[in-house]
Structure formats: C-alpha cells, structure tokens
Amino acid sequence: MTSTKIALPTEHCETCPAYAQLEQMGIKIGDFDRVVALAGNPNTGKSTLFNALTGLKQHTGNWPGKTVTRAEGGYQFNGVKYKLVDLPGTYSLLSASQDEEVARDFILFGQPDCTIVVTDATALERNLNLVMQVLEITDKVVVAVNLMDEARRKGLEVDTRSLSRDLGVPAVPLSARTGEGIATLLSTVAEVIEGKITTQPLRVEGTPEFQKAVRELVPMIEQLAPGIPNARWLAIRLLDGDARVQKTLLSGELSEIVARQRTSDVQFSRKMSVEGRQ
C-alpha cells in the first residue's frame, strides 16, 4: 500500500498546529514513535476513524460488535510516527466476552501513549461511563465526541468545552465519516502526549479507608508482577472481589497478558484489514 498525503482542511485558524499534514502509513509501522489506542463503546465509529487515519480498509458495519480483534495501522502527523490500535468496542472495563477482553487488556496493560475514547454524541451519558473508567487508570486521554453530524440531525447540541472542563481531559467534536474535526483531534493527541496539555482527569476516589486499602495492596501487586502497569486498577478489582482478576493472578497469567500486549499483531491485522476476512 502506498502512503498518501492528505491535506487536511484548515479549521479555526492558520496558526494552529492543525495546519499540518496527515500522512497515512497503512501497515508500514516498522518503527513508530508513539502508540495511540482507540477505545470506546461498540458502534461509535472507531474503525471508521481508524480507516480515515491509516488509509487502511478495516471492515466497518453498522452494528455493535463488528470489530472483534485488535487491528493496527500507522499514520504520521507533523513528522511524528504513530501506531494506531483499533480495539473492539466495550461498555466497561469489567467485561466478560472475548472481544471486550481484547480491548480491556490493551487499555490496561498495553501502555498506549494516549488513549482516544471515541464516544457517540447522540448517547453521551451512557458513553461517559467508559470514559470515566478509562480516566481512573490513565491521565493521557482525549475524548472524541464522534457522530456530531448525526447529533445535529437529531437536534442535539454538544458543548465539548463544558465536557473538557468537567472531565479534566480535552474533548474534541468529530465526524469521522466526513473527516470533520480530525485535524484538531490529532493535534490534541500530540499535545497531550508531549505534555503541552496537562490533564486533570476526574476521578471518583471513594472513601479514605478505601483509598488506604488500595495504597496497601498496590506495592504487593507490583512486587508480584514487576513492571505491571495499573496495579491500582487491579487492587481495586481485588478489593471488589472480582473472581476473574483473582483467577488471573493465581494462575500467573498476568505477566503473560502484559507481555502479549507488547507483541505486535501486525501480521494478523494485515490479514484482517487488508484481505478483509471480517
């Protein structure tokens, strides 16, 4: 696949960093500088955004659950090479089905430099539950409020500024199908990664005694599985009595899951997205 340069429409003003070029890199992601994950509820347009950014042809469909595997592609923006990981949709991080587990494991243990949570502007409240769960585990989050065109048709108006303020992370309006808002999204992602935008994610912390219990468990988990990201999340799950997390810990699968997130799924993604086996 040849890479194509796409001149993005200039939004806002000519001085903003969005006045740059996006280069779709398809599956040529041998060396990349940053990893960006696409998370979100099912059928919010993650794969559509993935295709727009990478130039790949990951199959999309208008039904929740179309993407069941992790697809990877690349794009270059302002000279920085990004690996983009398209994840199956998930309603929560406590999920049970195989496809949702793929998403959850990557968000938790894949250590992306930034996670874009794609939300449906027409069903924002429900989508925010996942956003807030993701905010509990990482600071590097950009909320993409997708399907803005559909929301407008339905007579809905979404104030992304109010959303950004409340969530403590940037929220960007988007219509992945038409390409509207993509430039702003990419520059926001870049700024969050570089630390030009500092985020203060909204967190529901719980009672002080709960916090104390979490603080006690975290070092134990880190000692058990050195180098594990999100020991805090695991501690919360353990305090919650999550049987699946207990099982994972007992069987020693944890380090395996963490290791698996680092191996590239490129071969598989090429099959899924280029040959189109879905």
């Binding site: 059928n43 199959h59 809905l156 409340d166 009672t207 005694e209």
Partner: protein, 466 residues
C-alpha cells in the same frame, strides 16, 4: 533482602482488607460514577425542541414488530437472492462462453504446434478448465451478493434481525447474538466463527461456532444458484425461471436456518447443557451506506479474496482430475474406477460416485465441488466441448449421467449441510483451542448431511418419486 510474595498472600490480604471496609463501599463508588456521568452529560448536551416524529422509530416499529418483522426479513432475503440469481445467470454464461472459448482456441494452437498431448491436456483440459469453471460459476453471484449484503449491514439492519430472531434462539437454548454471527456466516463461515467472540457465555459461543456452517457462505451460494437454475427452474421462461430459482435458494437457506435452530436446541440439551443467558443489544440508528466504500470492500477485499482462494484450490484440483482421468486402469481410467467404487454409497444418498469423488478432491475448499464435478463429467481430456449454457449442462447431466431432480436437490442439501471448509475448521480450532470441538464441528455437519440426504433419497424412492 526482599521476600518473595505469592499470589495467595495478595489475595488473602485483599480479602482481609475487604472485610474491614464498610459494606457497600464499591456500590457507593459505582453510584457516584453514574450520577457524575449523568450530571456531566446534562451540562454538555442541549436538546433542541423535540422533532415531531422520528423516522428511525417509525421504521423500527415496522421492521421489528412481531407481525411484520419476520415477513420483511424474509422479503429482504428473497430480494437479495433474486437479484443475485437473475443477475448472475446472464453474466455466468457470458463469462463461461468467453473463458472456455479462449481455452479451446489456446488448446488448438498447442495441438497445431505439436506440443506433446499430455502437456496440452494437463494445462488446458486440467488446470485451465478447473480455473475457468470456478471463475464463471463463482464470480458473478459473489459480485452481486456481497455488495447487497453489505448495504444491509451498513444500513444497520443486522441488529434488527437479531431482535426478531431472539425468541427463537432463546427457545433453542442459544444466545440471541447468534443471529449476528449466523448472518455473518452468509458472507464467510470463518468470519462468522470469529464473530462469535461477541457472545460472552462460553457455552453459547460454542453452540454458535458449531452451527455456523449451516448457513451457506458466499462460496457455497453459487453451487445452490447453479443447481436451482439448471434443474429446479428448468423449463420455465426467463422471469418465472429466475423467480423459481430464487425461491428454491431461499428455501434451501431456510432449511439451513432451521437446522441451525434444531442443532442449537439439540446441543443445548446434550453436549452443551444450559439455559440461554440474557443480554442487551443496541439498535443503532439507520445510517446511509457509503456506496463507494461498499463496492470497494465487497468487490476488492471480499470477492477477489474468496475467488482467489477458490482458484488456488481449483488449479491443482483440475490438474489432479486430469491425471486421474488419464491414468489407464485396464480399459478404463483411475477416475472412473474410483467413482464406480464410490457409486453405491453415492446412490444411497441420492448422489453418485462422481459427486462423492469431487467432494473428496475439493475438501480443501469445498465450495468448488460443482466445478470439480463438472470437470469429471466432461471427462477431462476427452475432447468434449465444455458446456457453457444451462441447456448444455442439463443435457449433459440428465442425458448422459442419469441425473434426476432428486440428485440436484440432494446435492443442494449436501452442499448446505456438509462439513466446513478447511479454513473454517482451522478457525474453529484457533478460536476454541480444542481439537475436540474442531472434530465435533466436522462430525456434526457431515453426519447431518449424510443422514438428511439418505433420508430424502430413501423417502423419494419409497414413494416412487424416482
């Protein structure tokens, strides 16, 4: 010095800490999470004056109503299949005439250049004819069916199908989302098997995997379409003929869906005992399909991909058939000997020895059974012109090889029910990580195919139909 910590220690500590916390501490957190989400959303979203009516809701009331939902679904299925049947017929004959014409011309050049007979035969009667049959039989139906199917998918119709069929799956002890994976199977059974990941209960996921093959995939549709057109709809005029052929294919698809339910029901009462679990499924808004993208993905990605895979099997299969037909055994040849040896069993199933041999040769990609069979019947290397029109095919099979309507119907049933193709079996193995379930998937489907064709053949003979 650091003491090593065991997982049990962490779990025990967590247990103690949990017991010390005031009960319902986590509920509080979850509750505040939800109320926070509600508060934030209310602040950010402004709703303009409600529109008087919502078109989506109106359509949904019709499409998912208990009264009109199923008929609409059947109607859409019939329309897609009719479009495929009537469009593919004309194009198939044109492509066949073109490809076989070219083959004969190339062959005659080889002959006039005095190329050894076995090179000419192997290349043009073997490999080339195998490819020509596969392209002419499979390409046109796929090129029509895939885009039509994808348009429905992109519109957002699939979740509505799941909604309509939920009660049936529930009765069968299966998961309602199996409707989605079953529908994906129409495109490709291997993709359907991968799609079962959306089903969270392992038991119900296995049921969906094991029964996915009962819906004919795109590779098998052409077989059904050809048999329905050439045999069932034979003797009717143009338009009527295409309606009857389409109705036959719809009938076969419905039989396949009936077997999906029957087998799911049997499995959930024997090997995979259990009750259907509850689930939620969003009905997404209808969206206007992006026609350019659909044409691209369905033609370039899917059609060419599936066709290419079929061709990779068809070329060696064609070569193998030519060799078998040209290895002399006494006064006969190897192909004829094997076919006549398989014949009694074939007849028992209302088929014949040639069909069974073709099926065995085509095991790597069993959607090429019909092309393989046609090569056998035309007797590779025996200088018979390849029949390209429906008329010619019928007179060859009925006139020279004793086919009846029962043969055609049983071959359709056999193609519908028999074991998954090699790719799908491999996918089942990868998804279940179990040799046992991969084997069971073959045994169940092949067993059903043999049993059903045996029964129809026996009944047809008992009532004196053939």
């Amino acid at each position: 010095m650091e003491t090593t910590i065991r997982p049990e220690d962490v779990l025990n500590r967590a247990e103690t800490l949990r017991n010390n916390l005031s009960s319902g501490f986590r509920d509080e957190v979850v509750k505040s999470l939800y109320s926070e989400a509600e508060r934030i959303a209310r602040r950010a979203v402004k709703t303009a004056a409600q529109k008087k009516y919502d078109l989506d809701q109106k359509i949904d009331r019709l499409v998912t109503s208990p009264l009109t939902g199923l008929p609409i679904m059947l109607g859409l299925l019939a329309i897609v299949i009719w479009l495929t049947v009537s469009g593919a017929n004309v194009v198939s004959e044109m492509i066949a005439a073109l490809l076989f014409g070219f083959g004969d011309w190339a062959r005659s050049i080889f002959v006039s250049l005095n190329v050894p007979w076995w090179i000419t035969g192997f290349l043009w009667d073997g490999v080339y004819r195998g490819l020509a049959w596969v392209v002419s039989v499979m390409l046109p139906p796929m090129a029509i069916f895939f885009p039509a199917f994808t348009i429905l998918e992109d519109l957002g119709y699939l979740p509505r199908v799941a909604f309509n069929l939920d009660w049936l799956f529930k009765k069968a002890g299966a998961h309602g989302k199996q409707a989605l994976t079953m529908t994906m199977g129409f495109g490709c059974n291997a993709a359907g098997v991968i799609a079962t990941r959306v089903i969270d209960s392992p038991r119900e996921r296995l049921i969906a995997i094991l029964t996915n093959n009962f819906v004919p995939c795109n590779g098998r549709f052409p077989t059904l379409i050809m048999l329905a057109t050439v045999f069932v709809a034979a003797g009717f005029g143009g338009f009527t003929s295409s309606i009857i052929a389409a109705a036959t294919v719809v009938g076969v698809v419905l039989i396949g869906i009936a077997f999906t339910f029957l087998m799911s029901w049997l499995l959930s009462r024997t090997l995979l005992k259990g009750e259907a679990s509850a689930f939620t499924l969003e009905l997404p808004p209808y969206r206007r399909p992006n026609i350019a993208r659909i044409l691209y993905t369905s033609l370039i990605d899917r059609t060419i991909f599936v066709l290419w895979r079929a061709m990779q099997t068809a070329a060696p299969a064609g070569a193998l058939i030519w060799v078998l037909a040209n290895v002399p055994v006494g006064t006969s040849n190897l192909a004829a000997v094997i076919a006549s040896w398989l014949n009694p069993f074939g007849l028992l199933l209302g088929l014949d020895g040639v069909i069974l041999l073709s099926y065995i040769i085509a095991i790597p990609a069993n959607e090429i059974v019909v092309p393989t069979m046609m090569m056998m019947y035309t007797g590779a290397g025996m200088m018979i012109d390849a029949p390209s029109s429906a008329e010619a095919i019928r007179s060859l099979l009925v006139g020279q090889h004793g086919w009846t309507l029962l043969t055609a119907i049983n071959l359709m049933l056999f193609a519908l029910l028999h074991n998954p193709c090699a790719t799908t079996i491999l996918t089942i193995y990868k998804e279940t990580k179990s040799l046992k379930w991969a084997t069971i998937s073959v045994v169940i489907t092949l067993g059903t195919a043999i049993l059903v064709t045996f029964l129809t053949a026996t009944i047809a003979r008992l009532v004196g139909w053939v």
